[in-house]
């Protein structure tokens, strides 16, 4: 069984360049909602030092100096082009799993085909049909395919396709990949591992003390090790999950009756849970708020309610989770209902470096940076030094006039490309 990971190069930027070919060799970036920060960069933009998630105002000047262009996010366009890429990939006779807006796993039993040729053919097919450049990594396991794909992106020699079809190549790939680039190894995990002298994927794969690995990284650490060594453990629609659920809760000293009194502790729980999430280097999709009355006193009349909100794209933005939690609270609770215990749980987590920005929702990059800064301040000055303003009003991060947005070339008849 072989796995191929196909993913688009600088996806949002590539989408823009398809309809603006004069930008092919210039530094180009795409900005998050409200043109806040950089969420996609062309290679030329990387070369002039523009980092991912940089606030736009920081990079505006250097971009101008190099005749670069910044675009506002154009989600309808990216969504449509993503569908087209996936459509082309789905024509292969393989099992396919769309992993994110610009990545898909294909799996197949190795028949006697030249994998290199196949990989190049597939890359060419997508680029010709849709005009979006992709990289292809093929290996015996998903984790190795991810490594291969990473190498395909970075190596000029590889020209976008890397096949790991023997143990020598697999070892070479592990040696060339730093531990924090391994699928399933989060930031805090890689920090723990580097204390053990584990700096590369090869170090990790060959680390013999399995007990220690299991205690540090739980069963997923072992599974990732196995995958790195060529044993396929994550099958279809399976990914390495780190902490599956993060909970923060408390039973109150006294029952609370007013919704506005419950907002404050709920916000605190959200903050705590998000701090834990970020400390793990993870992002999450779902937040659940549960409320409970006092079962001892109220017995059968005890109030119990739980509601969930899911974001299409995972994030670690405290402010967004907080907003969602308060919205849920106001739906679930009315003044007069006695509440003695509240619990926030954050679930459907994935490691932060795999998440992709959703094409239908507001980007959380700004919020995440802010949340990170908030963590630092709270660490220094004590928990609670900075808290989000408990508010039911609509977020002041409304979609402002994004005048750097390109046309909806494929979803609006009035905005299709004009040619001479």
């Amino acid at each position: 069984m072989y796995y191929a990971l196909v993913d688009c190069n600088s996806f949002f930027v590539s989408c823009e360049r398809l309809f603006a070919p004069h930008l092919k060799k210039l530094p180009v970036v795409v900005l998050s909602n409200n043109d806040g920060c950089v969420v996609s960069r062309s290679n030329e933009a990387k070369k002039i030092g523009i980092k991912m998630s940089s606030p736009f105002f920081e990079v505006e000047k250097v971009l101008q100096q190099h005749n670069g262009v910044a675009f506002s996010s154009n989600y309808p366009l990216y969504s449509d082009l993503s569908n087209r890429v996936m459509q082309v990939l789905s024509q292969e006779s393989c099992l396919m799993e769309v992993y994110s807006v610009d990545e898909a796993f294909l799996s197949f039993d190795r028949i006697d085909i030249d994998l290199n040729e196949w990989g190049r053919m597939l890359k060419h097919k997508v680029e010709k049909a849709v005009g979006i450049p992709v990289s292809v990594g093929v290996a015996r396991t998903k984790t190795l395919a991810k490594l291969a794909n990473n190498m395909a992106k970075k190596s000029l020699k590889a020209q976008g396709v890397v096949i790991l079809d023997n143990q020598k190549f697999e070892k070479n790939a592990r040696e060339r990949t730093s531990i924090d680039q391994v699928w399933g190894i989060g930031k805090s995990s890689s920090q723990k591992l580097s204390l053990l002298g584990i700096k590369t994927a090869q170090d990790f794969a060959s680390y013999s003390n399995k007990k220690l690995i299991k205690s540090l990284l739980s069963i997923n650490g072992i599974r990732t090790q196995q995958e790195l060594l060529g044993k396929s453990v994550f099958e279809f629609d399976e990914h390495p999950q780190l902490r599956k659920q993060i909970i923060s809760s408390r039973t109150f000293k006294e029952s609370l009756y007013l919704t506005k009194d419950i907002e404050s502790p709920v916000s605190n729980f959200v903050m705590t849970a998000c701090e834990k999430l970020r400390a793990e280097g993870q992002v999450a999709h779902t937040i659940t708020l549960s409320l409970r009355g006092n079962p001892i006193v109220e017995k059968d009349n005890c109030f119990y309610s739980a509601r969930t909100f899911s974001f299409l794209s995972p994030h670690c933005d405290s402010l967004a989770f907080n907003q969602a939690a308060l919205k849920i609270l106001n739906v679930m609770h009315k003044d007069g209902i006695s509440v003695r215990r509240a619990m926030i749980s954050i679930t459907d987590t994935v490691t932060a470096n795999q998440r992709q920005l959703s094409f239908l929702e507001e980007s959380h990059a700004e919020g995440e940076i802010l949340s990170g800064l908030m963590d630092k301040v709270n660490q220094r000055f004590g928990r609670g030094a900075l808290v989000p303003l408990v508010s039911n009003e609509k977020s002041h991060w409304k979609k402002s006039l994004e005048d750097r947005v390109s046309n909806r070339f494929t979803t609006d008849w009035n905005q299709i490309l004009k040619v001479r």
Binding site: P21, K128, R307, F309, F409, I416, R420
Partner: protein
């Protein structure tokens, strides 16, 4: 559970269609076929089909200003096809002729000049114009 789910908007645009009612349970049912769809006819490869609007007259009278062009990126052009090209970073609709070392992009309109390119020149074929929908009442 409240969910923001990705709802795929139905993208098929039937520009033309009449309803054929097959309400009579009779032998007619056996001959009831699908409605004719312009989308099915014109868009052979949805993933690689794009619509663009002409705003020039370099290909007049075949293509006039305001016409809608159907462009398929996946097709390799044959000599004589109309293509959407990118010339020095700009889009251009022209008729293509490729010989061994020369690429010609020729306008149908005689008031415009033919363009010649050698290997290595900054020219790219973006796609082939498969259908021209004249600017009518739509």
């Amino acid at each position: 559970m409240q969910n923001y789910m990705n709802s795929q908007k139905d993208k098929s645009v039937s520009l033309y269609g009449t309803q054929v009612s097959c309400g009579f349970p009779s032998t007619v049912d056996d001959f009831c076929e699908g409605v004719l769809s312009l989308d099915d006819l014109i868009v052979k490869s949805p993933a690689s089909t794009f619509f663009v609007r002409s705003i020039g007259d370099s290909m007049s009278p075949y293509i006039d200003e305001g016409d809608l062009l159907v462009v398929d990126k996946s097709i390799t052009p044959s000599n004589g096809n109309v293509v959407l090209a990118v010339v020095f970073g700009e889009f251009s609709v022209k008729r293509i002729h490729q010989s061994t070392d020369l690429l010609e992009l020729t306008p149908d309109n005689p008031s415009y000049k033919k363009m010649l390119f050698k290997d290595g020149d900054d020219v790219e074929i973006w796609g082939v114009v498969t259908t021209v929908i004249k600017n009518s009442l739509i």
